[in-house]
Symmetry: C2
Subunit: 387 residues, 2 copies
Amino acid sequence: MLYDEVIVQTIRVETPSAKYDVFAGSGLLAELAPRIERAVKRLPRRVFVVTSPEIWALWGKKFLRSFHEMAGEARGRQENFEAPVALFLPPGEQHKTVKSVERLLREMVKAGGDRGSLLIAFGGGIVGDVGGFVAATFMRGINYVQVPTTFLAQVDSSVGGKVGVNLPEGKNLVGNFLQPRAVFADIGVLGTLPDRELHAGLMESVKAGFIRDRALVRFMEEHSEEILAREPKALEKVIAASIRMKAEVVRKDERENGLRMILNFGHTVGHALEQATKYKAMLHGEAVAWGMVATLAVARRRGTITGGQMERMEKLIYRYGPLPKLKVTAARVMAATGRDKKNVGGVRRFVLPVGIGDAGVVEDVSVAELEAGVRYMLVRSRTAFKG
Amino acid sequence: MLYDEVIVQTIRVETPSAKYDVFAGSGLLAELAPRIERAVKRLPRRVFVVTSPEIWALWGKKFLRSFHEMAGEARGRQENFEAPVALFLPPGEQHKTVKSVERLLREMVKAGGDRGSLLIAFGGGIVGDVGGFVAATFMRGINYVQVPTTFLAQVDSSVGGKVGVNLPEGKNLVGNFLQPRAVFADIGVLGTLPDRELHAGLMESVKAGFIRDRALVRFMEEHSEEILAREPKALEKVIAASIRMKAEVVRKDERENGLRMILNFGHTVGHALEQATKYKAMLHGEAVAWGMVATLAVARRRGTITGGQMERMEKLIYRYGPLPKLKVTAARVMAATGRDKKNVGGVRRFVLPVGIGDAGVVEDVSVAELEAGVRYMLVRSRTAFKG
């Protein structure tokens, strides 16, 4: 089972608002145009690609090839299809803004976009979130597909329809829920991903295992060398398992009224860390990793995990490290958790692991409990990666 | 039937994404808090009112009264409900921008808004469109209700879930479809509406009659004096009929893939006029009125209406005038129609009346036909209100 021959895996996502496929495997980029056409029935005349300059420099030519072929065929048939128009979003959380969205929308109008146009988000999580939100709001919503190029985006943000941008007051405070028409996770493009980003992305797979998939936890424990060496079959296994977990949760709770909240395991403290360090000191996956460590400490004190389980879980997190040292105080982190948008009606909702492979949402975590968890995390940030 | 005693009429809107009631009548403002509570099950701790300074100065005190009573009761029951927080949008199309949306979103975060918060859009069409879009995007969407204060907003924009803002490139190019949880159209607040706005708003009722409701056309012909004198029962009749027409169309086609397009009767040229005059020379309803005149001329040439029908329809439009003189050239109007967002895939979709009380969408209106209609409209703008 583990190393069987798989080229492209298809994972079906079904929600009340949409049904679509996530494709994970190698060689997807080369077949993008016909695959997208199958997903949206008919490619419109105007296709937009929202991407980053870096990704486009590395993969733009390969990306465009299948579209150029299709445009050539369309000309042969006297049809009205043109090759995609690339629109750029500079890298970095500082560009995940309302202002960027407005600029992209205006560029689309100027380039002749209409309500039948299609948008392809081709890049990491930020490109996916911003591109998806542009698609959700352009002329009140057009079709879009996700072509994630980072591990994190492939296993997490490209699936589930959460799109949006940040406000100066906090992360992801503006957005929509809009499912893509398809997601294409090409493992081939991960070849140019920096090690640090791969490791940070793997933290979302660790999270997926912790909250919902014991077998994935075991696989990531036993095959960490192959995974970190980017052995395609090992990566594919982790990616497909992570997407499957997320698809199942999103199917049951598209709009995060209940179950979907468990996906935020580690994210309350993770978001606070990102905010307290102004999104500059660490990658999202790294912040979530530290957030999971803080959460494990809260869970241990409550007894929802044993000491042995905590040790095993922490070890797995650090196996996919190293994580950056934290240079913030507990007080700053605590202050930043106050604005987390999951705090419906002032209640502090919090996701706790229950053993390994399960998790639940509780509403009665006190400030003192959370602070103890944060303090444990800060101690571990000084000691976990010594020797 | 015509003058029977009616206090509040309830019109049910059912779409694939939502079911809700539109209430039209007198005295709704005084009972707002309990009525909204019934619609959303339970009022959250934090309620926001997006409104204009003018409307708030006129009606804010009355608006707040039922909420203060409810807050008092909640304190008695030790519950966590506070009176609404008012957020202001200055009047005018120039504030219907992405920038205003961002400012309102930030104010909501700072005032402690969360995913359970409720937004009430209390004002004219611009307040409704902007407020609704803020609700649709705040933390990926919160509940909202519409409390329209202009005739136009009551009969048209508050119902149907179209929300959004303009770009410098054109009107309503950014937005979402999100249905409100309820709409409260209080005829009482129309008392302070300037005559010109009432007349402009009545144009959407004229439109409603032309495309879908022959009986409404006849009522507006026969009772124009009572309507223009703001006789409550006559107004209520026109408002309820207009909303019913819109509710029926939206029920059949929420996202404007087909039938809903007929609501854009007169709007292709109307939007072009607004754009060509930078949204300053006329009200939306006035622009639509002139757009209908241009459209009638196109329809007459095609033979979808008779000469007698055209005369009768034009007469009804002018009965609810006067309309402002047009100071644009045919060339400018034509250029502005080129960017209308209904032009899917480059095809010029156009709504034509078929007799009185019916309409259809055609795709083959030529530039020459449209220009002839625009020229007719410009001639009528010089002659229709003489003597």
